[in-house]
Structure formats: C-alpha cells, structure tokens
Symmetry: C3
Subunit: 312 residues, 3 copies
C-alpha cells in the first residue's frame, strides 16, 4: 500500500480484519519491521485517541514517532497555488511536505474541515496536498471528509463482538451543541458497505449524509424503527451536509437511551458528550463497547503502518 487516505484503500476488509486480530494477539511480533524508521504525526487539530494510539502502533512496530502540533510548533502553512505570500502564512505546503519527507519515513496528518466551505472541504486540500507534495507515504488521521483509521477500527470491533453471521448495524445521528464534521460517519458508512452486515442509517430528514457516500444504504428517518433488532448501534452527531455545516435540529428525543438500545451494543468513536448524545446508563453498562473500540485504534493503525512498511 502506498498511502492510507480513505476506506477505499482497503482492498479486502475481511482479510484486513483478520490480520488486525492477529496483530492484537501478538503486538510486538513485527517490532523489527519499523526499526530506525520515523513516523511523523502532524496535528492541525486536537487529538487524544489518535495521538496516543498511532504512537503506540508505531512503537509496537519499532518505529520512532515524532509528534508536531503544526499550528503551535511550526509555521503557518500556505496551500494556495501561485499565492503571493505576503500574509499570515510563512511556508508553502510544497516545501513543508517535501521537507518533512526528508526526516520521516511515513507522515500521518490530522486536518479537520472548515464546515463552512464545502468545496474546499471536499477537495481535502490539506491531506491531498501532503499526498501530492510529500515523497513518502501519507496516513489520514482524520481529514475533512474521512476518518479511515476509525472506520477500520469499527469494522474490527464489530467483527469481534458479532454474535450472528450477518449482524444488523445501525448508524444513528444524535444531537450535539456544536457543528461537527461528517468524517467519522462517512468512513463508518464506507466500512460497513464493504462488510457482510445489514446496515442502515437513521437521522432526521435534514441530516442526510453525502448521497455519493451513502449510495444504496437505506436511510430511515424514524429512529425507533431503524433500531428494531439491531445488534450494533453506532452513534455520532454530524452537522447538515446539504445546508453545509449548519445545526438544523438538536431534538433531545434523538439521544440514545438504554430503553431505545435494547439488546444492541453501543458504539461511539469518542469523545462523547454524556447525557447529550447518550445517557449515562448506556455508557456505564455492559452494552457499551466504546472502550474496547478505542483499544482497537492501536491495531488498526498498526496494520496500516505495517502494510505501508512492507510495501516500502
């Protein structure tokens, strides 16, 4: 594999899941694979799980992780082509990406969307500029429209906890006070579309995700109906896609409760706002597998890094 940009870079999700489970059993098996190689982790935004799990994954492969908060540690980066750089940005991505490539064997990047410029966000300016101008492989640690390390994590977690051959998986929107990106919902949708599961999405009518991503997946606007016989309920807030980045509805009736959940397992990428997205009773019960899910972040990242290192 050259880069890990989106769920589409997974050639065979079932074999990837199996390989990740093997890594989880013996995380240090490939500790010589990345020895004396460097992973650069570049953060344009906050991170807890991604920051720690990706470093842990690199360490499990013997790599040296180097972390940078781009905004605070380095220079403002310019992405425009042909710009006369007499403003606030001091370094062009053409140089920045090429330079970091001199010191790092793999570059992982986190860059959230603007949520007010749809075209810019869909162009994935930051991530794709790194891909274009870096001379080493790029890993997406959550970009404007996707979070494929999370999507792979979620596929592994569902595979581990499934009790039926073809479980029913529901992705449900839930209310939130801030406008949030579509990245996690998009990558989860794409991952589920590749798996042998019964997958439905439920959200208020004004919150349909990008139809190019949801494709033929059924979208049900009645949450109760969608949850019937669910084995997994994956919950996430996102802002409107059509009225891009807007908060159109904060209806608390969409909050996940123990009663609604029934016998399904509760999943969320975290961080999660308690008693806004989901009530305490769910998170504090055995129905919640959010911590097991977070643990799998390590092995999803480790698998991706391993595949890149093996290809080098």
């Amino acid at each position: 594999m050259d880069h890990y940009i989106s769920i589409n870079d997974i050639d065979n999700i079932n074999s990837w899941i199996e390989e990740a489970k093997e890594l989880k059993k013996n995380p240090l098996k490939y500790i010589e694979l990345g020895r004396n190689k460097t992973l650069g982790l570049l953060f344009f935004n906050s991170s807890l799980r991604t920051r720690l799990s990706t470093q842990k994954a690199a360490l499990n492969l013997g790599m040296n992780p180097i972390v940078m908060n781009v905004s605070g540690d380095a220079w403002g980066i310019e992405f425009g082509d042909g710009t006369v750089m007499n403003g606030n940005t001091a370094e062009h991505i053409k140089e920045a990406a090429a330079v970091v490539s001199q010191y790092c064997d793999i570059i992982a990047v986190r860059a959230f969307p603007t949520l007010n410029d749809k075209a810019k966000d869909e162009s994935e300016q930051v991530l794709m500029s790194f891909k274009k101008y870096a001379s080493v492989p790029i890993v997406n640690m959550e970009s404007a429209t996707g979070h494929p390390l999370q999507g792979l994590t979620d596929a592994i977690t569902i595979s581990e906890h499934a009790k039926t051959r073809k479980p029913k998986v529901v992705l449900s929107w839930a209310p939130h006070i801030k406008a949030l990106p579509h990245a996690v919902a998009n990558s989860f949708t794409q991952a589920m579309q590749k798996m042998d599961v019964e997958f439905v999405i439920t959200n208020p009518e004004c919150y349909n995700l990008n139809p190019e991503i949801t494709g033929k997946t059924s979208i049900i606007h009645n949450q109760e109906e969608a949850f019937k016989n669910a084995d997994f309920v994956y919950v996430k807030n996102w802002s409107s896609y059509e009225s891009y980045g807007q908060i159109l509805n904060t209806d608390p009736n969409w909050m996940i409760t123990k009663e609604k959940l029934g016998n399904a397992k509760f999943m969320h990428c975290l961080p999660v706002r308690r008693n806004v997205i989901v009530e305490d009773a769910v998170l504090d019960s055995d129905s919640s597998i959010v911590i097991q899910q977070a643990n799998n972040r390590t092995f999803a990242a480790q698998l991706v890094l391993k595949k890149i290192l093996e290809n080098a």
Copy 2:
C-alpha cells in the same frame, strides 16, 4: 505497588531511600524491565523538572514515554457525575481515563489545585478520578494537595547529605507574590514525619498548613528560633490554608538569607524566585543543594516506576 498517589504509599521510607541510591549508582540496571511498555505523562499544568525527570526515569527503565499537554493537545475533560455535557467540556473522565489506559501501561498525571475551592481541591478530583476510572496504575506528578515524587526526592537528598545520625530539618515558609499550592509542603512534611529526623515547621501564624497533615509536628512562628542548629532548611511559599488560597502576608523579613541559614543546607523544590524567596548569596553558595535535589527527581521517579512495573 498499585499506584503512587501520596507519601502514604511508601511502606518503608528507609528501604526506599536505599533502593533509590542503588538505582542512582547504576541507572540502567533495569533497562529491560519496562521494555516496550509505555508511560503516559498527562500535564494539566506547566512543568520543567517533572516533565524531564519522569521521562528520563522511564527511559532508564526502557519504557517509551508519551507526553500530552491535556489542555492544548486534547479535549476539555468533564469530571462531574451525571453532568449534561452541553458546555465547554467535550470528554468525560470516565472515557478519557479508560481510553488512555488502553495505550499506556502506567499513567502519570499533573493537576494543580484551584486554590479557591477547598473542598474540590481536597477531594483531589482529577487525580482520584484517574485512579477510579483508569485500568492501569496512576502516578501523581503533583496534585492539588501533594507532590509525592518531590517528597521522596527530598528524603533521598537529605539522607545523602546528612552528617549526623538524626539531622534537624526545618521547613520554612517564605514570601511570594502569587498564591501557591500546599502540595510540596504537605508531601515534604509527610516524608519527614516518616524519617528519623528532628523536624520543625516555621511560618507566620496565618500560614499554618492543614493540621491533619502537620499532626504532632511542632510549628514555630519565630523563624530565627526555628533555624537554630538546623542542618537542612527546606524553603517553600504557600498560600493560607485556613483562609484558603489567600495571600495574607508577604513580609520580606521571611526571605532566606545567608546569615539566617548559618551552616544549614538550603533546599527548595524549584522553580524559585531569587531575591524574593531567597537571596542570590544562598543559591550561589555551596550551602545550596537545590541542583543535587533536582537530580534526584530522576531516581525517585525511577524507583516508583520500577516498583509499579515489578508489581504488574
């Protein structure tokens, strides 16, 4: 040892001191003990010595340290039970602590007091929440009411520099322009109470420490009298405990001078404000052992990590 939360977690201070001195002679002896294990260092506040010495201690044990400035790098953390999280905090400590436990074998936490909410500070909300919700051992890198890595360091340093079987050790308050925590003074007091030393505290009347901590230790409000025949003078500012967090006195006569110090050794946890807490002439003389003290931070931390790793 499961956790290192306070000086009370030291079962036998004399054997700990001896063990730390052994580590200091041969810091790399146990470099295989922590190999491929990860220490997460979570900072809610600034740090120089603790940040560097605890990383150094981890490296001496072969561990991989991962540092996070929680406020800048990650999400605002909610500690309240049952809170409806529709405000500024994005992640609950229940998830945060459990998640970090998935990636780190030991979690070290620094979280200073508010100094305006005594009950909250004394509950040690941040530290004890990590202890409660993490699934791995917790190390206190200075909490609201204690700094036990510093207290252990101080005990080691006094043992190294003592010239008599039972030295006289004085903890003296000194003036400062800001309201400072009681953590260092508390842990130093607790450490001295466990050692075979003659221990007295001296401070202005309005600055008595928490009587539950000082216990039977004599408190002398006349600094000159307290310093008589002292072998070690340990200096620290703290704000009022009774009028919680207030600055009630900044009397410069309490500043430590070479004349006052006599033949005693000068100790301070650092950082120290020169010519406010203590005059230059003391710090620049051989009477000061603050740098040797700082050096011992490594071996105090290394001993604590070693005991936790051996117990795992």
Copy 3:
C-alpha cells in the same frame, strides 16, 4: 568539541564536510554512540526543520530526544543578574540550565533575537546563559545572531552540488514583509569565508550586514552584477543591521526570478515566502536545491552531536 555555538567552532570545514557526507551514506553506523543518552531540545520559538532534523539526527545516533516548548510547557525564565524576581518570570536561568543538565547529556537551544535591542541580541543572552550555567554541552539551534547548523548544512550542500573546483557563491537579500533576523545570513557568510569559494554578498545599501562578520567579503549593491556567472545563489531576507531591526526597503525588484538566476542553483534555508522572496518558477524548477539542502540538516546536526558525544 565542547559546544557548538557558532561556525567558529568548526576547526576544519573541509574535513567536517567529508565526515558529514560519510554519515549521510551510512546514517546508522554510529547508532551505539549515543545509546541511552538524552538530547534535550529547548524551543523558545517556532521550528519545523530544526525540530525534526535534530530529533532525527539524535535518533540516528541512538539518543533519546526530549522536546520542550519552553514558553508553553514550562515556566517563564529570568536572565537578569541580581533581579528581584517579583514579576512574570518564575525561574532563573541559573537554575533552569543547571537542572536540565541533570536530565540531558546535551542541550540544544533555539532562541531568536528581539530585533529591537541590538546590545542584548549581540550578547546572545539566552544561548550564552545556557552555556554558562549548564554543566553539559550546548548546541545552537538558531540564536539571535547565528544559525550554525544551517551554515554547516549549506556548506555540505554546496560541496555536493559544486561542478567547478572553486564555485561562485552569491548571498542575496530579498524582500519580505516582516523584520527578520540576521542569523542565517551571518552563519552562511562565516561558512563561505572558510570554504574555497568565490563569495560575494548583494543587498540594498541600507541592508549591509554586521561588518565584523562580513569582513573582507565584497558587498555589491547591484544584484544583477553580483549574479554574473554565479554557480549558487543563496537567498535570504534580513532586516537592517545599522538601523537595527528596521524594514527600510521592500523593493520587489530584488525578488529572485528564473531569468535573474540563470544557470545558478537556488538555495534558501526555508521557510520561504513564494512570490515575495522568489517566484514559483524558480522553486518549482530543477535549479532549486532547497529540499536537498533541508535534507542535509539531519547530517549537519548528526555530525555535531557525534563530535560532542565522542568528546564526552
């Protein structure tokens, strides 16, 4: 070598260049030299290349790098002698440098000039205070008046790309919207003065560098004349030295164009503002060797660290 403070610490630039080229061929040859030793990287200012390449250099030598953003992570540092520290600074450099020396085998420091207090900048207060009060070797990662890791890098790069025995090297000022330091230009000048090259500097009249540094090097105020038959054009903006820190000229005619450059190679320390300092057509052509130059930062730093470790 005890410290690496300026280009003057290079005893024989030709042998250093050869040694750096050898390291570049086999970067991991000395990976046991720094094993279990720690490099502390202290940043008072932003950094991308220096931050990454110096860490990479340390890793290539088996060292453990520990990075600190002094301003954000630790305490305000006081540099004044005899100061009554009742203001914003909480720790004196005397303690800070001595303390960091307890945990790090080498300390690397970045501290930019004020550009408004010439005497203070020329005293190199921060760097020289670390040198004075630390008990371990100090490496300059760009100080008020010099950037000797960059200067060494540039010498290596010119040696690699030279096609004639004695190439013509031109250092050219170029316009910029902000007042920038003289450090890079100074160290480049000093490095070229040690090499067997034909070296000239070109800048507007009001931008002559410190005459104590330029010495006998010819300064030509006509850029076109200076560029004649140049093999290397090294470009950099700096503020006025005489009218210290002032921007006296932003004449866009001094911007570097492909036409002006002719057959010369284009060099710049980066970050570079495109279409202000230099037009896109130069940076996007094979005439630009800025990325190869950035790559050599690793080997310049590695050579310096190696020489210090071998001397320890």
